[in-house]
């Protein structure tokens, strides 16, 4: 089998609800979508969701005519192909999208779900609920985590960082909502790099007086291994990070300097191949990895086969307008079906409709950083978020 061509689609979708964090607490509901199709001479098409934009064109000659089953070899070839100019930024996302589509093809050729191709015994991954919820009212916050708890999810991650009093109140709301799934739910927080390391320590220590936190995510800048290590040493919770770094090379300083306790991984950022590399390196240091959220939870196919995966982030803002898939959440786990590859099909009619009539809503591309970050806290203005009422 040979790779013969590719096609990519870029579109806009409007989520069923807004998502927001410390950097953009009012949230957005307009999200970018993209799909990469890798075509073969045997009428099987590999699909990747996300980031398959224009840079694919520059990389495609490296894989044209190749056997798509040679995923790992082609990953190396793609990285070597862009060696001098760099495999970062746009090139990295395109490379990762190609890698995902190649693994989709490899599994489809073997007529099995990707989790099986990767050697997993079950298509089943423990989930944690993540509201991306700074833009939700207290009532909406409770409703989200309660809905997840009703599916058996016993862990939740709250967006925090701008208002300690509100964050403490909302942590209790999240815990109460999850308490029907477990008397002692796992509670996590995520400040998305808004704090300086010592700000993080002060803030988290005050939270830890009232809550047992499983992990705190991105309490310092993505590359700041000294700052991340400082936080890890000074709080009881584990430090999770790495969602904004892409390759194993970027993970190296974090691991070598004991700056990370849980590694956030994503196939969209590292490809399936790179994701597995990072997990294996983390495993040498007995560090768990956690898969990032994504449309239709498709990356659970990869998480299922990682030996040190703890739980995968699940959000349900409604991003699957033009996707057909069979995975579901049950007993607190993402249950993957037996459909070949990633188990995702594209509803071409819906996609065409979205492209013909782009939705209108709140969107920010790219996603910004908030004023004061790393220096001083700028709390939400009245009316900026539903839980801070206007006068």
């Amino acid at each position: 089998m040979r790779i013969t061509g590719f096609r990519s689609e870029v579109y806009l979708m409007k989520a069923d609800r807004a998502v927001g964090d410390a950097n953009l607490p009012e949230g957005v509901d307009l999200l970018p979508g993209s799909i990469l199709y890798l075509e073969t001479d045997e009428n099987i098409t590999g699909i990747s969701l996300g980031f398959g934009g224009s840079s694919v064109k520059a990389l495609f000659p490296a894989i044209e005519g190749a056997d798509p089953r040679e995923t790992v070899g082609l990953w190396t070839r793609l990285n070597d192909w862009v060696h001098k100019a760099g495999n970062e930024g746009e090139a990295n996302y395109a490379l990762s999208a190609i890698d995902i589509a190649l693994w989709d093809l490899k599994a489809k050729i073997a007529d099995e779900p990707l989790w099986r191709t990767l050697g997993a015994r079950e298509g089943r991954v423990k989930a944690y609920a993540s509201g991306l919820d700074y833009c939700l009212s207290d009532e909406e916050l409770f409703a989200f985590y309660r809905r997840m708890a009703e599916l058996g999810v016993d862990s939740g991650k709250l967006k925090v960082g701008l208002d300690l009093k509100a964050d403490l109140r909302r942590l209790a709301i999240m815990r109460d909502a999850l308490s029907i799934a477990s008397p002692r739910p796992n509670l996590m927080i995520d400040s998305n790099e808004y704090w300086s390391p010592k700000q993080a320590v002060r803030y988290i220590r005050q939270m830890e007086e009232k809550f047992d936190l499983t992990w705190v995510e991105e309490p310092a800048r993505r590359w700041d291994y000294d700052g991340l290590r400082l936080v890890s040493k000074q709080v009881a919770a584990a430090v999770a990070t790495a969602e904004n770094i892409n390759s194993i090379a970027d993970v190296y300083p974090l691991i070598a300097n004991e700056a990370v306790d849980v590694l956030n991984v994503s196939a969209l950022h590292s490809g399936v191949t790179g994701c597995r590399q990072i997990a294996n390196m983390a495993r040498a240091f007995d560090l768990p990895v956690s898969m990032m959220n994504c449309q239709a939870n498709f990356m659970a196919q990869v998480a299922a086969a990682l030996p040190n995966h703890n739980m995968m982030e699940v959000v349900d803002p409604g991003r699957e307008h033009c996707l057909k898939f069979a995975s579901r959440i049950e007993d607190g786990h993402i249950i993957l079906g037996d459909a070949p590859g990633f188990g995702i099909e594209i509803d071409e009619a819906k996609l065409a409709e979205l492209k013909a009539h782009p939705p209108v809503g709140k969107g920010r591309f790219p996603f910004p950083r908030r004023e004061g970050a790393g220096r001083y806290i700028v709390p939400p203005a009245p009316g900026e978020v539903p839980w801070r009422r206007g006068r």
Partner: protein, 355 residues
């Protein structure tokens, strides 16, 4: 597809006693692994406890189950060696189920692995040493050779010269490596290697200190020019943590006994994260060439026997012009000659297990 039984036999291949394992399924496919002889009883026990009735395509999940099943008692030493062999047989089945060579199942592009000749005969005469390296260089194009050293510095210097000369007849720039097999203290290693380095440019020095001694390895690496290469005597990925943390190795040795193919690939990925090249150790039928295809930073593969000795199994890995190239035969390419096996099998063998 389900695992139904395992059959094991003991054979003598040249110097070594090997165990041949055949993992049977409810299909016509059989998973093959060749490994050390002393794990034989464990292969049956672990198969019975974990693998019977399981789909071999779930190999990484089963790998985890095998180790988890032995967590408390022990999962190192012989248990690790047995699990490793079973993992190899499972991957063989996974590849055969796809009717593709193992290197492709692992996601590799066709392997073309650099190889080095490794003489295992330190007690042989100078003449036989010279002839061995020369014939390997001539017949198979080896561009590098590794010599066992350690007990007699004068002889080692002389024999290094002979190896160089023998290889140089084909490749004037042949790479030279030495292997002390943990027989030195770190300072002894530094003294001896420095003296060798006055006359020879050594690519690497293998196991110049005890396997666990990351401080010693680091000390040696800091004290000599050549790279320090080790790891073959450790069990699994976790044992490498101090070496990675202290960056005490310059080249990481990898073999299927590091937790099977699943474990070897984990180790190679971890090494890659530290920008450390990996060196594949010698293997029956040079089967490790399949793994090299799926390792991002594979430097060289050790070859002791360019073609399998003993006639019990054939391989699909050819050594030519200084490279190992794996073929297209489905699975890991090891094929058992059952007639030869029946003749070579050592008393008490074969033993069958399973329902």
């Amino acid at each position: 597809m389900k695992v139904t039984a395992i059959e094991t036999s003991l054979i003598r291949c040249g110097r070594d006693l090997h165990c041949v394992a055949e993992l049977r399924t409810d299909s016509e496919l059989v998973g093959v692994a060749v490994g050390r002889e002393d794990v034989r009883a464990l292969l049956g026990q672990i198969t019975d406890a974990v693998l019977l009735g399981e789909d071999p395509r779930a190999v990484t999940g089963l790998w985890q189950r095998m180790f988890d099943a032995r967590r408390k008692s022990d999962h190192g030493g012989l248990v690790n060696a047995a699990i490793s062999m079973l993992d190899v047989a499972l991957w063989d089945l996974k590849a055969k189920a796809n009717a593709e060579p193992l290197w492709k199942t692992l996601g590799g592009s066709r392997p073309r692995i650099n190889v080095h000749a490794s003489g295992f005969d330190p007690s042989g005469s100078d003449d036989s040493l010279f002839d061995w390296y020369r014939s390997l260089a001539k017949r198979f194009g080896f561009r590098g050779g590794k010599l066992k050293v350690g007990f007699d510095q004068e002889a080692d210097l002389r024999r290094l010269g002979l190896m160089q000369q023998a290889l140089a007849e084909c490749n004037p720039e042949a790479e030279l490596m030495i292997d002390a097999d943990e027989c030195w203290s770190p300072k002894e290693a530094i003294r001896k290697v420095r003296e060798m380095e006055e006359r020879f440019d050594l690519t690497w020095v293998e196991e110049p200190a005890r396997r666990w001694d990351f401080l010693g390895h680091k000390r040696v690496s800091n004290g000599i020019r050549s790279a320090v290469c080790a790891g073959e005597s450790l069990d699994t990925l976790g044992d490498f943590l101090p070496h990675f943390h202290e960056r005490s190795l310059d080249i990481v040795q990898v073999g299927t006994w590091h937790g099977g193919i699943t474990g070897a690939l984990q180790l190679a990925d971890a090494a890659f994260g530290f920008e450390l090249p990996v060196m594949l150790c010698a293997s029956p039928g040079n089967m490790h060439a399949h793994l090299g295809a799926a390792m991002p930073y594979c430097m060289s593969m050790e070859v002791v026997d360019p073609v399998p000795v003993g006639g019990v199994f054939a391989t699909d890995v050819r050594i030519e012009e200084g490279w190992a190239v794996a073929g297209d035969r489905p699975g890991n390419g090891l094929v058992i000659d059952h007639e030869a096996l029946a003749k070579a099998a050592i008393a008490g063998s074969p033993a069958s297990r399973g329902p």
